[in-house]
């Protein structure tokens, strides 16, 4: 009897999913994603899934920087704005096909991200957080004041993305744009951390001086991390632009940056599945609380005015509880469940 998982070839040892149960889980997840819109066939759940998908791409991007490379960033919202505005301007003003603007926007955001990553050479931790906060403010200031390019005051209206003469940005159709890109992002990121680039990122996170001693060019790799991270963040921004057909700066404020940090902390730092869990959690929790609040409307007389405050308070409370009970995030909870069933029913 085999008492563990043994790999008899390099190929199976190097595989992304190394056991049949892992492959089964992934298969089930993909099946769920593929079947979901056909089963629910309602716009609201599909819309929520789209929000989760876009947030997952953004969260994976941020996780590459914060979770894997250890560089704190408060500029997430602004980098998303760069992606969204680039995609929007290219489509609305220059007539570039919408599908082409998505990779261009991601590349432009990568460049901008790398530029604002330069202070990371000299700054660490909280100091870097403040420097990226400056990036957030500067970029948003430019967006709202560079009237000739961004439209400044006015929201930037993006013509709906068309494919075969049909608009693609309905909830159902855009689902098929977002989720394959989520898959691609996850796959690329998973493989990134199997290359020497990714390992260098992790080395910098764990001990930057040791990494430098080992011959890693810390500055170059930090900039690369900023660039790669911003690439995905810009991708998320570009998707928002095409999905919502309108770009407004109020979507990309510092609150967005903090929200994404919260996503990856709650989901799990340095983890792709954690990014997905965090994105789903931070999207669904307010929706859940709002619906509980709506269900309670009129149930207890005189309580209606308190409901919005209770919603806000429970939002904070749930997050604090999750962080106290499981500081390593939802990813760890998932890990514990997997471990429990891996050994079940003889968990000793």
């Amino acid at each position: 009897m085999i008492s563990g998982t043994f790999h008899t070839s390099y190929r199976s040892d190097m595989a992304l999913r190394r056991t049949w149960i892992e492959r089964l889980r992934l298969g089930l997840f993909i099946a769920f994603i593929v079947l979901f819109p056909f089963v629910v066939r309602k716009p609201y759940p599909i819309f929520l899934m789209n929000q989760i998908g876009i947030a997952t791409i953004g969260a994976i991007g941020l996780n590459i920087l914060v979770g894997y490379t250890g560089q704190i960033s408060l500029g997430q919202g602004a980098f998303m704005a760069v992606g969204a505005y680039t995609a929007g301007i290219l489509t609305a003003r220059m007539g570039v096909p919408w599908w082409l603007t998505i990779p261009i926007a991601a590349l432009v955001t990568a460049a901008v991200g790398a530029l604002f990553g330069i202070p990371s050479l000299r700054m660490k931790g909280l100091y870097l957080a403040i420097a990226t906060l400056a990036a957030q403010e500067i970029i948003l200031w430019v967006v709202t004041h560079w009237d000739a390019v961004t439209g400044g005051v006015d929201a930037l209206v993006v013509p709906p993305p068309m494919l075969f003469g049909q608009p693609v940005n309905t909830d159902f159709r855009f689902y098929w744009v977002i989720w394959p890109l989520v898959g691609l992002t996850a796959l690329l990121t998973a493989n990134l951390f199997r290359t020497h680039y990714g390992r260098a990122f992790i080395a910098i996170r764990d001990q930057d001086i040791a990494a430098e001693v080992m011959g890693i060019n810390v500055f170059a790799y930090k900039l690369l991390a900023f660039g790669v991270s911003s690439f995905f963040v810009g991708l998320a921004g570009a998707l928002i632009a095409h999905y919502r057909s309108i770009v407004t700066w109020e979507r990309f404020t510092i609150e967005t940056s903090v929200l994404y940090l919260a996503m990856i902390i709650i989901g799990g730092l340095g983890s792709i599945s954690g990014s997905l869990f965090g994105a789903a959690f931070m999207t669904l929790l307010p929706a859940f609380l709002t619906n509980v609040g709506r269900a309670l409307q009129g149930v207890i007389p005189g309580m209606d005015e308190l409901i919005p405050y209770l919603q806000q308070a429970s939002f904070g409370l749930v997050i604090i509880l999750f962080l106290i009970l499981e500081p390593e995030g939802l990813r760890k909870i998932w890990q514990d469940i997997k471990n429990y069933f891996a050994l079940w029913p003889f968990s000793y």
Binding site: V40, K42, P43, Y44, P45, F47, L48, Q51, T144, G152, V153, D154, A155, V157, V158, P160, P167, T170, D171, R244, S245, I246, T248, W249, E250, R251, E255, F281, T283, L284, L285, P286, A287, F288, T290, N291, V292, G293, R294, I307, P308, Y309, Q311, Q312, V318, L321, F322, L325, E326, L330, I333, D336, I337
Partner: protein
Amino acid sequence: MRSKWLLVLLVVALAGVLAACGGGDKATETTTEAIKVGAIFDLTGPTSDVGKPYAEGIKGYVKWLNDNGGINGRPIDLRHADYAYKVDQAEQLYSQFVQEGVVAFQGWGTGDTEALRSRIAADQIPFMSASYSANLVDPKVAPYNFVIGTTYSDQAIIAIKWAMQDWAEQGNTGKPKVALVHHDSPFGKSPVEDAKAFAEANGVAFMSLPMPKGATDYVAELTKIKDFGANYIIIHTVSSPAATFVKDARAQGMDAKIINLNWCADEFFIELAGDAAEGVYGVQPFTPPSVPVEGHKIPTEWAKANGKDVDVHFIQGWYTMDVMTAGIRKVVEQGKEVTGPNIKAALETLTNYETGGVTYPITFTPESHRGNLGSRVYQVVDKQWTQVTDYITVEP
């Protein structure tokens, strides 16, 4: 370990309830003839101070309407929730309410109004909000947005018109100098271009200045205005920075007359600015309760009976819902199906709709959704807004 299972349970419960809500069975419940209207309010976010009375106004109107027979017997089913001025939340709620079958929507601020603009056009949902930006009035770019307040641009033009009038009445010759200070945001910048064009066309010297975010005083801005020699200062921001600005202006002994546009011409401004508020003018499309008119009667009585406070924002919410209802009522009376496109068409036939003196008569046409072309000028006297002029109008 037990605590972790608790968390797992929580996650599962969360997913379960969401799936139940997502099922949206409510959408098919058409046993009653209720007309569903969606609404998002800011009750806990950064604009909640004015968002709350506005929300009370909308909710109050719907309750009052339903208690008095609804629209030809059909009640309005208001689907509403707080979105805390978060764009994501606004979109979530919008999507949910549309699935539940709402035929019209009440928004709130610039953020959600702009973010939903393309979507409401695609979904054909008539939309009103408390954002009176002039770029929402052209049906070619915003076909389903209806603006019931005088736009910020028009308010600024009315302020300049009044300034010219007042300047002449005071026995001065020539033209006054006007400065416009504004919130540093799309909301604040929105009237600048139009006001400038109007001032220049009338030979009025004009300057505009953004109020820096988070400033604790406006001494630097006031120095610039003093150097410019402004006789009139138009303030377009929200109450709290406006109060700080006015206090600073008084402290510096500025003798220029100050005119607040609607978001700072309210009761909060008087409360925050205290004695400094005395003598400040305001352009306000909605008649404040301190100047009683016929249209205040029903909301004031309803509010008294239900223990709500009445301020200008309550009235504003009440009549925004009233105008939307007027459109829906037309559709019902024509015997047509109550749908977004039908409500839009009905609203576009609304001509000189009377709000009992609360606003200038409202008119929408298929070419223009700029419903309100006039505002009165008010002044703070003894901690109350009092009427100074009758309606000053702008060209259609």
